[in-house]
């Protein structure tokens, strides 16, 4: 995910470096020139016959069946030679341990273990939010991650390594600590919680919007509810302004989040940032919506102006109110409403006026 975030593969390809994805889903996407649609199962949108077609074409396997076992075995054979011969591997990391300087990779397939064991040189790219204070903190995070991501008690393989171990694994190790907007996200408390994310994807599995649209609709490396708050912040709100709206605010994501990121709260905060940015954009000043909202703001914040507006509004509306007490048609913008439905005429008094008069009348008449 991290390498996709910084568009590493296209950059390396342009520099003449051939890269091979090693995760089964990622090979499917790479060979099929496709994009991920889920954090944990990135090729969720590709079915077995499509995978068969991609593998048969790119690996030269004419007689490949579309049985997932056969497809997985094909990928195993295809990659084993690559693992044994390619001198450099690039990995991400799930956690970094400050106390020991260790890197932790959590996985199921074993491609991670291959990458961090066989090549001569290892390069790890990790976001700075992955740092845990102590080794012991893994006792919490490892249990939480596996259970929220795949529902397993523990994922099949977890690897911990600390720099270079003579005689075991890569003898050159580089780690790139990636900021890319993360330190900026620390500034405000609401947005800061985004950095707690451990990429388990529980939020997208629970999200009614994600389940309808799939991951591609988000148009961002990180899809789903977490992507809707993470991507706009990483991109400094410049692109991806519609993402904070890709939610019904039902809160299902917050409910399942193991690290308790209040995603709806962050979504609302980002929406307000989008609006603030937008209404200060030239050309938006006379936009009917913003004009209307400015007028409403003026009226609602001054009681005398509000009462005056009510008074004149009531007089004005009388011209449109029929004898039956209903408004059947309004001019201009209001006509859009009355085209399809009637509107009840305004009452003779406001509630406040009625309340003030109430005690002055004999009981029984105050209706």
């Amino acid at each position: 995910m991290t390498s996709a975030e910084i568009q590493l593969n296209p950059f390396l390809e342009a520099a003449g470096v051939r890269t091979y994805e090693t995760d089964l889903a990622e090979i499917i996407l790479q060979l099929g020139q496709d994009e991920p649609s889920h954090i944990v199962v990135p090729a969720l949108h590709v079915n077995r016959s499509q995978v068969r077609e991609i593998f048969a074409r790119t690996m030269g396997l004419k007689d490949l069946s579309d049985d997932p076992h056969a497809l997985t075995a094909a990928a195993r054979t295809y990659l084993r030679q690559k693992f044994l011969s390619i001198p450099t591997a690039i990995s991400g990391a799930n956690f970094l341990v400050a106390e020991t300087g260790s890197v932790v990779v959590v996985e199921s397939e074993g491609n991670g273990r291959m990458c961090l064991t066989l090549p001569r040189t290892m390069i790890t790219i990790a976001g700075i939010e992955k740092v845990l204070p102590s080794f012991q903190d893994l006792e919490v995070m490892l249990q939480v991650l596996a259970r929220s991501a795949t529902g397993e008690r523990m994922n099949p393989y977890t690897s911990v390594w600390t720099g270079v171990t003579p005689g075991d694994g890569p003898q050159r190790f580089h780690i790139v600590l990636l900021d890319n907007g993360r330190s900026r996200m620390l500034a405000k408390e609401t947005e800061r919680q985004t950095l707690r994310c451990i990429r388990c994807a529980a939020c997208m599995n629970a999200c009614p919007v994600y389940r309808q649209t799939g991951g591609h609709a988000y148009g961002s490396v990180y899809p789903g509810p977490i992507g809707a708050i993470l991507t706009p912040q990483l991109m400094q709100m410049h692109h991806a302004q519609t993402l904070p709206y890709a939610s019904s605010l039902c809160g299902a994501c917050y409910e399942v989040c193991p690290v308790k990121i209040n995603i709806p709260e962050v979504l609302l905060e980002l929406r307000s940032q989008v609006v603030n940015q937008e209404r200060h954009t030239a050309g938006r000043f006379f936009d009917p919506m913003y004009l209307g909202l400015r007028v409403a703001n003026l009226l609602f914040s001054r009681a005398w102006l509000f009462h005056a507006a009510q008074y004149f509004g009531r007089i004005g509306i009388r011209f449109f109110t029929r004898k039956d007490g209903w408004i059947h048609s309004l001019p201009s913008i209001g006509g859009k409403w009355t085209q399809t439905r009637d509107l009840r005429g305004f009452p003779r008094q406001t509630f406040h006026e009625w309340w003030a008069e109430r005690d002055l009348k004999p009981t029984g008449e105050a209706k």
Partner: protein, 224 residues
């Protein structure tokens, strides 16, 4: 200043500026007093704990046999025999009595990846095991082998002593007085669900895991 140093300084400066509201000493005490009310210590008896470990391993399709300490060499030999394989890797520190006669042993003294790839199986010890999740923990000592030897061969026989089995993951962490430089936690065989969410075993790591559980003395894990 070169570019990496400069970036590092910029990042650190930004982090400091953006977390100024939280005093460093306050953070430290907040971390020290974090509520850790999750299950840390198990509640099972030694036998129940071991039974849970074996149940979990079998759920993962591992083949589990149990034996007494004195029967270990013969049990290893029987397992190797029934595997139908001949070429096995042994980590350099594996006890000589575990190297059953009649097999082609390749002692790992800096074997190349290509040589390890040619082997059919590997026999190792373990550091610890966690019953709750059926996890085998390797710290890659001389008896547990380098990381590569438990990765390339398709068949892995792991010798686990009953006294090495703890119930919960936090109990493993409290057994690590010194955090390991290298560690691998294995919970079942390599697996994927990347194609149509169908779970398939054996993408890259060993497809066959065999475990011999040795009932050593009291069957009691050493309490830290």
């Amino acid at each position: 200043m070169n570019a990496p140093t400069q970036s590092r300084q910029q990042i650190l400066d930004r982090i400091r500026a953006n977390t100024r509201s939280v005093a460093a000493e306050h953070l430290e005490s907040a971390y020290a007093t974090l509520p850790r009310t999750y299950v840390r210590t198990g509640s099972l008896s030694a036998e129940a704990r071991l039974a849970l470990m074996i149940e979990r391993l079998r759920e993962y399709d591992a083949e589990v046999v149990e034996c007494a300490p004195q029967d270990l060499p013969s049990t290893i030999a029987a397992q190797l025999q029934s595997s139908g394989k001949r070429i096995f890797i042994a980590p350099a520190g594996l006890p000589a009595s575990w190297l059953a006669l009649g097999f082609d042993w390749r002692i790992d003294r800096d074997l190349s990846s290509a040589e390890i790839e040619l082997a059919e199986g590997v026999v190792t010890a373990a550091f610890c095991a966690v019953a709750d999740s059926g996890t085998i923990v390797l710290h890659h000592s001389a008896t547990e082998g380098r990381r590569v030897v438990t990765l390339l061969p398709d068949w892995h026989l792991c010798i686990l002593y009953a006294s090495q089995v703890v119930e919960t993951l936090p109990e493993y962490f409290s057994r690590c007085q010194n955090p390991p430089m290298l560690a691998t936690y294995i919970s079942g065989p390599s697996a994927t669900a990347d194609i149509e969410m169908t779970r398939i075993k054996g993408v890259h790591g060993p497809r066959f895991l065999h475990v011999i559980v040795v009932h050593d003395h009291a069957d009691q894990p050493k309490n830290q």
